[in-house]
């Protein structure tokens, strides 16, 4: 097992390198570079720097070096000093901008994932063991709807319904009056009353997909001979279903946790924009729109790294739960 984990971690390293390289390429993609953008910003505020000054700046910052050298400088700065570069838009180091937002993103994503699982697994198992029952059809419809409705649309509709019927303003994570208030019970309640929409939105989309996967896996497993063996041992239906096929049906499920994470991050970006949440999404969007590329690239890098780590964790979980993988 230790060997497996070690090998798997070794595996993640090339992936991380490629991910970081792609993030850097994205930073470099827009025409012009940091200095061009800087000059434009200065011009905007009435200042002016000459072409010579621009060239000097470029030379100082090493922007004339080959791309791979620039990449190396960028990534070593990040790895060694935690220095992600400078955000033009905010005129602040990137690292000072991202961490608290990342924390919120992670919190919402994790919460949504737990929610997703809490819905998808029992419902999927139920739908499979009671195939073609009324509830199975209801869940199937729910599954299809969840797949068909884009996250942002669901967020819009929920927000609108909360506004129209409950007369709640659920945008943002806190009502304005709590924005700068110290943490109190009221503030937590206020936070929770805002948090449910993003969690529900993200969980619905995810659960709809996973529920169908779980149902299909379970149907596959329920038809296998070992289930009959378990029944022939005199176990009750509940003992059989939860003790045997669910264990096996969860495996493909576990192996896709890693993919659920990037999906949630993706969903979070859009949902957060609609709901105006102080997570990474709106900041990333704004950075991209303003071509504030160090900020945007750092976000993409960090989100991708989280995803790689998520995949890693799910692989290890899978090996832990399935002896066939553990021993091969």
């Amino acid at each position: 097992m230790a060997g497996f984990i070690f090998r798997r971690i070794l595996w993640a390293i090339p992936t991380l390198i490629v991910v970081s390289f792609i993030s850097f390429v994205i930073i470099q993609l827009p025409p012009g570079d940091y200095v061009t953008a800087y000059a434009a910003q200065l011009r905007h505020s009435g200042d002016y720097i000459s072409l010579e000054q621009e060239a000097l700046l470029r030379a100082q910052m090493g922007l004339n070096d080959p791309m791979i050298v620039q990449y190396w400088r960028w990534i070593t700065n990040i790895v060694l000093y935690g220095n992600f570069g400078h955000s033009l838009e905010w005129n602040a180091p990137v690292s000072s901008l991202i961490w608290d937002r990342l924390g919120l993103t992670l919190a919402i994503s994790t919460l949504s994932m737990l929610f997703t699982w809490a819905i998808a697994i029992p419902v999927g198992v139920y739908a499979a063991t009671r195939q073609y029952s009324v509830l199975d059809y209801v869940f199937t419809i729910f599954g299809f709807l969840g797949k068909g409705v884009p996250d942002f649309l669901l967020a819009l509709i929920l927000m609108w319904m909360a506004f129209a019927w409950l007369n709640m303003d659920v945008g943002g994570l806190l009502s304005p009056r709590y924005q700068n208030a110290p943490w109190t019970i009221d503030k937590v309640i206020n936070l929770l009353s805002h948090l449910w929409i993003p969690v529900v939105v993200l969980a619905t989309g995810g659960a709809a997909g996973l529920l169908r996967v779980m149902r299909a896996n379970m149907l596959d497993e329920l038809g296998k001979p070992y289930v009959e063996t378990a029944y022939a041992q005199g176990l009750s239906e509940r003992q059989v279903v939860w003790g045997y096929p669910v264990r096996v049906a969860l495996n493909p499920f576990i192996s896709t946790v890693g993919w659920a994470l990037p999906a949630l991050f993706s969903g979070d970006v859009i949902t957060a924009v609609v709901l105006n949440l102080p997570t990474t999404g709106p900041l990333l969007l704004q950075a991209l729109k303003m071509q504030d590329m160090y900020l945007a690239g750092s976000f993409i890098l960090i989100l991708s790294v989280f995803t790689v780590i998520g995949t890693l964790i799910s692989d290890i979980l899978l090996a832990w739960s399935d002896p066939r993988i553990r021993y091969s």
């Binding site: 009959e228 063996t229 378990a230 022939a232 041992q233 045997y244 096996v248």
Partner: protein, 346 residues
Amino acid sequence: MKTTTIQPMPPERLLELDNVHVHFTMREGLVKAVNGVSYHVNRGEVLGIVGESGSGKSVTARSIMKLLARNAIEAEGRIRFRPKPESEIDISALSRQSREMRALRGGSIGMIFQEPMTALSPVHSIGTQIMRTVMLHRGVGKQAARQRAIELLERVQLPKPAEMVDRYPHQLSGGMRQRAMIALALSCDPSLLIADEPTTALDVTTEAQILELLKSLQEEMGMAIIFITHNFGVVADIADRVAVMYLGRVVETGSVDDIFYRPGHPYTRALLQSIPKLGQAPMRRLRTIPGMVPDPFNIPEGCVFNPRCAHAVLGTCNVEAPSVVSFPGEQSVRCHFAGQLPEEVQ
């Protein structure tokens, strides 16, 4: 053969099936897989059930365990089981998931399946699977159950049982898996073991090992066995009595010697002659049964075997379903002309 009054079972009887019917509802229509099967098993005896695919032998066995698929209809018939001399249970009156039925499964009736590869859970160790059964039926603790599991693995002659108990099925060979499966089925000393084609998926030397093991276990533990197979050689090797099935009916039952040396039904005779036997004087051609097993939607009128039967008499066999003719010594044949067919040289 239909009994309206319920006769008490003779004292040596362990299990009795009377006129069991099982149908399946399919998209294409109703499949009558089992049509009035009656057989019995005495304590400590081995009943062999032979038939080609589609003869309903497995379905009948599953109806004893109440493990039929959800689209099955147990249309008719009675299944009585007497694990202890004083307690007779009417299985056909129990519901699939009732407490009594669950106590029988794995407790008084053990079952072995054809595919040792897939019949064990891939994500649980052999020991865990046995322990669950032991703990369920015996109500013992984990430690005792584990001890029992090791003991069982030793009894089925698995090498190093103390290590095997923590192995997973994919780490074992086919023969070892089937041994583990037998250990699982015997974990609570059942009085009846149903073995559904337990050696079909195995190689011939492994098959011999498993047959010898089952014979010695049967001698040692004294349980009765229903041994289902399509291989006449295996039946001759292990069975005390034999029931031959064709298209959801028992066409002939009798002692193993009766069936092999004095077969009464044309189907039994024809099947026995179509298998090449080892060391037999070479013959140019095998005897065959013309045609093929009809599909379950087009079951022939009258005697179900009549379109393929060499002795069929038009006007009788294709019109009227034959009843059972009994002979001395427990042999009984479902044929209009039982006992009147010409003697055949084997």
